[in-house]
Amino acid sequence: MPRADRPQMASSVLTIENLRKEFVRGLLRKRTVAVDGISFEVEAGEVFGFLGPNGAGKTTTMKMLMGLILPTSGAVSILGAPVGDLAAKRRIGYLPENPYFYDYLTATEFLHMVGSLYGLDRSLRARRAGELLERVGLSMAKNRSMRSYSKGMLQRVGLAQALMGDPELVVLDEPMSGLDPIGRREVRELMLELRERGKTVFFSTHILADANMLCDRVGIIVKGTLRDVGQLGELLSPKVHRVDVLWTGPESLREQLRKDFAGGLDEGAAEAAEDAEAERHRSRSEGEHFVAHSQGEVDRFLAAVVAGGGAVVQVTPQRETLEELFVRDAGVKAEEQRS
């Protein structure tokens, strides 16, 4: 979605217009629309997160950008050139999804090969390979054949090979997948470091926390269509849209309050309640939970608790999280999303 507030400058590193991909499968020539006419831009120097649930079309889009598959229709311009342009490719680094590399090579040999493809001379290749393997925490295994590598180690080699040509644009397909918590943090730091050095990072993920911490802007793709593009702050509504109350009290009060505040839609709460969970009251080990949808309701509920001889443990105002935005856009329940 082109945004009117920012001028369309030449600073766009990646421009995608109406990109579409239909897969044709089997003898019956059944069609799957993997990417259904998406358009957006990634600007120079930003970290752009490409978010979407499994099967949304993230990998397919990235493969089209990398020339691995041909789009059914639409236009792409990367670094001002069409897909496959050699000069542009020299300035791009790419990490494929679930990377797998030549398992008979050592990581060092592989990075040397990649360096040659980028046209680096031997000494530069050796230096950069050493530095990058150190950076991704593989220096202890660098002279072992990659056959013996674990999934996370392959992912790390993948990051190193993507950076071998010191690219201006880094395209990473799920860079954190398969990594342990420390590895994830290292990758986040790596991506922020890239941005600091003026590089552009375009990465896909379905882990919202990662996007939350890293992205200048995100694009949300669901079932092949782009639902939202923009700064996270813009996409997330800033106002408090519900308040969680944790309280304790006798059984009788519980029943009383369940009746008094049963799904009753206050004025102003109607809109918010639409996508809220049906259950406003929940019993947990730590006490009773109640979800209020307006300030007035909170006040009345608290008063009722105190009047009935209960005790308020905690009152937490909730802003919309990225997860909720994602779920709202995806039209899927949050529980199904978590993996």
């Binding site: 044709v24 041909l70 040659s116 493809l117 980028y118 046209g119």
Partner: protein, 270 residues
């Protein structure tokens, strides 16, 4: 000029990788061992025959290089490309700054380097066995080995061509079939031209197939023919132009098939 140097360097990087893959492959090592074992067996056979030791070693040795060479050529040609697709190692390579045809040619170049090394190795072993028996390797033998080598290079290109659009087993069978037809093209040609088949659909089809199939007979070394005399069945040693053009055709077709594979089709490049 710089453009060409860059291109050659990239192809060489791919070729070196392919060579490493082949050399570090156990199946290949076993095949080479078998070829050597066959040559060793010829020493024993030579002992059994009267005054024919040298000829038997030469015959069996060349046959060993040829037979195992064909198996290795099919193995390499069919495997090295399709493995890249199956294991998805291409995903990391195609987006790198190189052309697709450079990748393909680099792969082939790597196979050529591998095959050259293997034929040279087997020839050296044969030479050693001959020396043990007091025989001479000689120019004729070298010529015979060069013919075998060229045939193998062409067969590899054919195998690679098939593997760029079909499964390894099928490709190997098709390439092997083509090789058999190519080796017997003279007989088949005579058959197609025979009164029985003349002007029939079958005859035309056979004629067409013979037009398309590379003429592997060009490289045929018959055992009787190389006693310090003619190596090739032709007067000239070998038709280099033919080898070059046949190889180029195969690679061009492979490049085309490769392109097709990456287009929106059932065999999408995914």
């Amino acid at each position: 000029m710089e453009v060409i140097v860059g291109s050659v360097e990239r192809m060489w990087a791919i070729a070196l990788n392919t060579f490493r893959e082949a050399v570090r492959n156990k199946v290949l090592a076993i095949l080479v061992l078998f070829a050597v074992a066959l040559m060793a067996f010829s020493l024993v056979l030579g002992q059994l025959s009267l005054h024919e030791e040298i000829r038997i070693i030469k015959d069996l040795g060349l046959a060993g290089i040829s037979i195992f060479g064909v198996i290795i050529a099919l193995f390499l040609g069919v495997n090295l490309l399709s493995k890249e697709l199956d294991r998805k190692t291409v995903y990391a390579i195609i987006p790198k700054p190189l052309h697709r045809w450079e990748f393909l040619l680099g792969k082939y170049l790597g196979m050529v380097v591998t095959m050259t090394a293997l034929v040279a190795l087997m020839s050296l072993v044969l030479m050693a066995f001959l020396a043990v028996q007091g025989g001479r390797h000689g120019v004729t033998m070298v010529r015979a080995e060069i013919l075998i080598w060229l045939e193998l290079l062409l067969l590899m290109a054919v195998a690679m061509l098939f593997s760029s659009f079909s499964s390894p087993w099928l490709s190997a069978m098709m390439a092997a079939g083509l090789w058999v037809i190519g080796r017997n093209s003279a007989e088949l040609e005579a058959f197609a031209g025979s009164p029985k088949l003349e002007d029939s659909f079958g005859g035309d089809l056979l004629g067409f197939i013979l037009e398309v199939v590379p003429d592997f007979r060009m490289f045929y070394v018959s055992g009787a023919n190389f006693d310090e005399a003619v190596v090739s069945v032709h007067e000239s040693f070998v038709s280099w132009g033919y080898v070059a053009s046949a190889g180029a055709y195969c690679l061009a077709y492979a490049a085309f098939a490769w392109r097709w594979r990456s287009s929106p089709s059932p065999r999408d490049f995914t």
